[in-house]
């Protein structure tokens, strides 16, 4: 029997008690983002089933699978819009959106799974494709239907058909993939002029520079290599396309961090410093952490694995990793971000012998959501990026059952060119497996079988690693985008953790950037060799070439090694969980990365050359303090009004409608949530977890990020990021003797070139950031146990080039002795208020300066940026304060960051729905502006009950501390400067301003 395609369409019932929520959502989104009103939008979900099951059989079972009989109506082999009993009026406009061929269709795969439950006889080649149709009523008459379709779909991955009233309704067809025949690898002649070498690199999206191409060329001139190649039956003097692609992936900036490994000649024209730095990473990150490791016993595994591991107690260890997924998120915000979060989850799963992800953190940097200016070609409006990224991370995190416990959203115009999507995950694993092995140590042996576990391999995600090492252009390829499937991954996680506990695995790593070439290539270093057979890799589409199979970044895949004797148990476990596994390789000790397609060798590279053959970059760095127009506060200010305006600034405003959509409580462990206080809408500082059920032993998770300080000095930016993360953790009552950090750098291209004439300066920014990172981390004793860098965050070149502000995200995780003894930012009645730390005159690059410059009330943002000259002093206060919190003396604390003391105290009033009266005058020589709005580091506002006041003062004696005032019974915040009342605001007005500006829901209906 031949396969036929059956169309099923389903629409929600409407009318008394029933409604079309999916349609309503579109209606509200158009209202919120574009002020466009429709009277009604209705939705239809379509399924195209390609199978041997007849249309009659399917039609009989529509309500068993496709349509919910209570709330939906379904049709078979007809467009439901033509059913006049359901759609009495014909819509003015119909837009149908389906997937392009080969794009991951998660509802389609789920539908197929459900289809097999009902029709077990379904043949294995059956497929289901899904689409969505929207019917629009009562909209503006001059609306451009193509524009609207563009808003609703992403042409990179989706196709659209549009129907206008009076025309026949549009039909989405099944996305057939054209047949492709497998073709054998080609060899690529590198004995060509240099220009030709560069052309090969550029046209192949290899992102290899001339020196690297020369290194590869030299490899194939080596007589020993040629002899070995002749023996393997390979072209002796030229790489196969498989080899060249494999080298490009492994040597990409994304995988090899070449800029952080570079030899840098650094010049400071102000101090006359002239020095050479041999690898920023080794000098400023690795060395300090190793030095700290020598002093403690809890740093179990650092740098060499997928995430850094610390001992949490005798039984459990904790690991954390953060990644960025910027370029894919720019092209497909939803898919890119989702892949980001499920990808970093796999880093955790691939740590040691498998850790269980227990919490996510998400930090995004976007252009302003209300951006009115021009947009460069091929870029989405920031509001659309925000919606898409948020949805991707929401789906990825929620469906995986991993709570999102902490994060931030930062806005700046320059992130229009490239949004930053940082996704972090914390994992947990038993220190020892039941078989006695230490879980943070991988131990594969030659002869172990290597399995690919999870999904199949397709065209999706070919060249992700090399692509992210290039700047974004209009021609960026769609194949660089992948869409994750959290459920396929969840099944795999369930299975892997059982396999771990049963002692069935000797090594595991994830398939992320670079696909199998990276995952097996890295694992092969343990045994010094591997032998891969690409013909055993299951494919989504027939005909993939060998190199494509090797480097594809198709999602939901882990690479796992298993000893021969454990194979039956491992395969049985996969069958139980319905997880696809394929035996694709063996570990060897041949010293070779050896790849076959069936019997034919298609790639043979010495592991040493693959991993260590890339030449070290030599880069130039030159620092000169930027000349900026200073920020001068306006005369005759109304600080009350400024406070209301500041609270509505996107960088400060409540992100509640967004963050509430993340599950932050699954696993039943989140003791301090993103929202706190009386109405549960005040800001949380750090996340606090109690991951062992029934125990109060805790973990603290926090983040610090301050990209705008880079406008003045990226060094100050880095110090501020670390201090903010630490401050937040201090507010939670973290154990200051056991905290670890992650450094995630996102930079504009810092290599001087025609495209980047200011490369020296950007590199100097990186140098300064690294130096400050090291200084502050050493002072606070925060070892950086893992990190990542993304170094090409630019859009375009020349005049229209947009470079992001150099951005360091510092994520922190630490121990907490007892989660009951913690604080939240909401004021509690009857508290005395103190400022820990000192306010200095530091308004440069402050949120206030940016706001007033944007409104024309100030000319610039320059001036003194917050700095941290005395971290030892801060550390003393932090230690005293955390002790006081752990003793139950302090229940209220909030860190001062964007917007300074004024915004911090306002947020505390909001959380507590409580008035306060404070006087900001005190020690130091800052003026009123500095005291209200300055963003000096090291400051925390603390609330203490009257009975605990003496104990608190004693605990903090010797620390920088200043009495601010008291909470009040009134519903007003009063801020004095000595005798002058400078701010008077109703708490309700603070609430409305803070919660109003980023709502973007388009109302409740």
């Amino acid at each position: 029997m031949a396969a036929n395609i059956v169309r099923i369409e389903v629409t929600p019932k409407v009318g008394s008690g029933f409604r079309d929520v999916r349609g309503d959502l579109i209606k509200r989104r158009l209202r919120a983002d574009h002020a466009i009103e429709f009277t009604q939008v209705r939705s239809v979900v379509g399924y195209l089933v390609k199978s041997e099951i007849s249309s009659e059989e399917i039609s009989d079972r529509v309500e068993d699978l496709f349509a919910d009989p209570i709330i939906e109506v379904g049709t078979t082999d007809a467009l439901i819009l033509n059913d006049k009993t359901l759609f009495a009026d014909s819509p003015e406009l119909v837009i149908s959106i389906g997937f392009k061929p080969g794009v991951t269709d998660n509802p389609g795969s789920a539908a197929l799974d459900g289809f097999r439950t009902i029709f077990p006889q379904t043949e294995s080649s059956a497929k289901v494709s899904t689409y969505l149709t929207y019917a629009f009523y009562g909209g503006p008459t001059d609306l451009d239907s193509n524009w609207l379709a563009g808003e609703l779909h992403n042409g990179l991955i989706e196709k659209v058909v549009i129907g206008i009233k009076g025309e026949t309704a549009p039909e989405i067809e099944f996305p057939e993939i054209g047949k492709i025949e497998y073709s054998a690898p080609k060899s690529i002649d590198l004995e060509v002029p240099d220009e030709e070498l560069i052309r090969i690199s550029n046209e192949g999206l290899l992102a290899l520079n001339l020196e690297e191409m020369h290194a590869i060329q030299a490899h194939y001139r080596d007589p020993e290599i040629r002899k070995a190649r002749a023996a393997a039956g390979l072209v002796v003097d030229a790489p196969t396309d498989v080899e060249l692609e494999c080298l490009a992936q492994t040597w990409s900036e994304h995988c090899k961090h070449k800029i952080f490994a570079a030899k840098i000649h650094h010049v400071d024209s102000e101090t006359d410093e002239d020095c050479t730095i041999d690898s920023l990473f080794k000098t400023h990150i690795m060395k300090p952490t190793f030095d700290m490791q020598a002093e403690v016993d809890w740093l179990l595994s650092i740098f060499h694995d997928n995430s850094g591991v610390i001992a949490w107690d005798d039984d459990w260890s904790i690991c954390m990793k953060a990644e960025t997924h910027n370029s894919p998120s720019a092209l497909d915000p939803f898919g890119g971000a989702m892949t980001g979060i499920v990808g970093v989850n796999r880093d955790i799963l691939g740590t040691g012998l498998g850790a269980r992800p227990i919490a996510n953190t998400d930090v995004f940097c976007f252009g302003p959501p209300d951006w009115q200016g021009d947009l460069p070609d091929n870029l989405f409006h920031p509001s659309r990026v925000l919606r898409g990224v948020h949805a991707g991370v929401r789906v990825g995190g929620n469906e995986s059952g991993i709570p999102t416990v902490n994060g931030a959203i930062v806005f700046d115009d320059r992130y229009i060119g490239k949004p930053l999507v940082y996704c972090g995950t914390i994992g947990m694993m038993p220190r020892h497996l039941p078989d006695g092995r230490e879980s943070h140590v991988k131990n594969p042996l030659p002869g172990d079988r290597v399995y690919m576990v999870g999904g199949k391999v397709g065209y999706d995600g070919i060249h992700g690693a090399t692509f992210s090492s290039l700047e974004l252009t209009e021609e960026s390829p769609s194949s660089a985008v992948q869409i994750g499937d959290p459920i396929t991954q969840k099944k795999m996680v369930d299975m892997i953790l059982e396999a771990r506990d049963a002692g069935l695995m000797t090594c595991i790593t994830d398939n992320g950037a670079g696909g199998l070439s990276s995952s097996i290539g890295e694992m092969a270093e343990y045994t010094n060799g591997c032998d891969i057979d690409l013909s055993k890799v299951p494919l989504k589409q027939e005909g993939l070439k060998a190199w494509e199979i090797l480097v594809s970044e198709s999602q939901e895949r882990m690479t796992v090694s298993v000893r021969e004797e454990d194979v039956p148990a491992f395969e049985q476990l996969a069958a139980l969980h319905e997880v696809e596994i394929s035996w694709v390789a063996c570990f060897t000790n041949s010293g070779l990365f050896h790849v076959r397609y069936g019997a034919d060798t298609v790639c043979q590279l010495p592991l040493e050359f693959l991993h260590d053959g890339v030449p070290q970059l030599q880069l130039e760095s030159e620092w000169k303090t930027p000349e900026l127009t200073p920020f001068l506060p306006p005369e005759n200010p109304d600080h009350s009004n400024l406070l209301i305006r500041m609270l509505a600034q996107p960088n400060i405003a409540s992100k509640e409608t967004w963050v509430r959509q993340y599950d932050h409580e699954v696993i039943a462990q989140t003791a301090v949530k993103p929202f706190v206080g009386v109405e549960r809408d005040g800001p949380g500082d750090a996340g606090v977890l109690a991951p062992i059920h029934g125990s109060t032993h805790g973990l603290v998770v926090s983040n610090g990020i301050a990209p705008r300080y880079s406008d003045i000095d990226a060094g100050a930016m880095a110090a501020a990021a670390v201090d903010e993360a630490v401050r937040n953790a201090v507010c939670a009552g973290v154990d200051m003797t056991k905290i670890a950090g992650l450094d995630n750098f996102c930079w504009p291209d810092p290599i001087e070139s025609e495209k980047t004439p200011d490369g020296r300066f950007k590199l100097a920014q990186l140098v300064r950031a690294n130096r400050e990172l090291e200084r502050v981390c050493r002072a606070y004793f925060v070892p950086c146990v893992s990190g990542k860098d993304s170094m090409k965050n630019d859009y375009g070149s020349g005049e229209g080039k947009i470079s992001i502000p150099p951005t360091l995200l510092f994520s922190l995780f630490g121990d907490h002795p007892d989660v009951r003894y913690t604080t939240t930012s909401d004021l509690k009645p009857g508290e005395s208020l103190y400022l820990v730390g000192t306010s200095k005159q530091e308004l440069g690059a402050s949120e206030l300066a940016f706001m007033l410059k944007a409104s024309g009330e100030a000319d610039g943002i320059g001036g003194e940026v917050p700095r941290l000259p005395d971290p030892e002093v801060k550390l003393q206060s932090y230690k005293s304060l955390t002790k006081a919190i752990q003793n139950g003396i302090v229940r209220t604390a909030h860190d001062c960051s964007e917007g300074g003391v004024a915004v911090a105290i306002a947020e505390m009033c909001i959380g507590g729905r409580c008035g306060a009266a404070i006087d900001v005058d005190g020690p130091g020589n800052a003026d009123l502006w500095g005291r209200l709005w300055g963003e000096s580091l090291g400051r925390i506002i603390v609330g203490v009950s009257q009975e605990n006041r003496p104990a608190f003062l004693e605990a903090l004696s010797g620390s920088e501390i200043m009495y601010l005032g008291e909470t009040t019974d009134s519903d007003h915040l009063l801020i004095y400067y000595g005798d002058d009342l400078v701010i008077e605001s109703k708490v309700e007005d603070l609430v409305n301003s803070w919660k109003g500006s980023l709502d973007m829901t388009g109302g409740d209906q």
Partner: protein, 274 residues
């Protein structure tokens, strides 16, 4: 033979994701928990009749595609029908939380019949807001309900975490019947209302009723009171320090939260009745 320590089968697999905490919390309530993969029951490796309680935890089985709980509900409806019928006939309690509730509704076990007929009579669908949300809500319980899980409970606070929690039935009479049978076990109520008098049929505003459920319904039981499903997550409020306002309260030695009563009720029921 009296059951001293009831055995709980906590289902997992296919995107269920609250299985670990649900299992742990039954243990804290005095039961012995085992996480059992759905396929273990389907392929016969494990026998449901050896357990005393079945828990279908929260999560995103099959990604909520084609409607939350639908695909897992179908697998159970087709492949576990006899086992489930026998389990119910043996008078053993079943709980479905969040996605588990959606599964039980879509298998037809809820609101169900005295003897399960696996016919779907209600649905849980997209929240009126169109958004998945995690927020704490206040629940009140029908004191006359036959539900064995909620005996002696008047009011609880715990989080909801769902995008498809709006309870729908084809018509008002269906809801009247359930109400008359006291099967509308628990409803969202205004936290400012008088304790014990919060339940109302009037539509409560968002976010007091977070999803637009008919009559503010948060959870229902079958006619026997043994099968209970609810959208909120009582297991996520098992300890006092999980309450969003715990830093506003005294620090106490006893960490057990009020929601543990639900799990203790089932354990005690098994101890007294099985």
């Amino acid at each position: 033979m009296m059951v001293e320590i009831p055995k709980v089968a906590v289902l997992f697999g296919f995107g269920i994701n609250c299985d670990r905490e649900t299992a742990a919390i039954f243990e804290l309530a005095g039961a012995k928990s085992e996480r059992v993969h759905v396929n273990h029951f389907i392929n016969g490796d494990k026998d449901l009749s050896e357990y005393h309680i079945l828990a279908v935890p929260g999560g995103f089985s099959f990604g909520d595609h084609l409607g939350s709980g639908r695909l897992l509900g179908n697998r159970m409806r087709y492949a576990m029908r006899e086992q489930l019928t026998a389990f119910a006939a043996a008078g053993k309690p079943i709980i479905g939380i969040c996605n588990g509730f959606q599964v039980l509704v879509k298998t037809g076990l809820l609101p169900g019949r005295e003897i399960p007929d696996f016919e779907q009579r209600a649905s849980l669908t997209l929240n009126n807001s169109g958004r998945y949300e995690d927020r704490w809500i206040t629940l009140e319980f029908d004191s006359e309900s036959p539900c064995i899980w909620t005996k002696g409970i008047t009011r609880l606070e715990c989080p909801i975490r769902h995008g498809e929690g709006r309870f729908v039935m084809p018509n008002f009479e269906d809801l009247d019947t359930l109400d008359a049978n006291h099967q509308l076990v628990t409803r969202y109520v205004d936290p400012k209302s008088e304790v014990g008098a919060g339940i109302t049929d009037e539509e409560l505003p968002f976010p007091i009723c977070p999803n637009g459920s008919a009559r503010n319904i948060a959870g229902i039981c079958d006619p026997t009171g043994l099968i209970f499903g609810l959208m909120p997550h009582p297991e996520a409020a098992y300890a006092t320090f999980l309450h969003p306002q715990h830093t506003r309260n005294e620090i106490v030695e006893e960490i057990e939260g009020e929601c543990m009563k639900i799990f203790r009720n089932a354990v005690e029921y098994c101890q007294s009745n099985l």
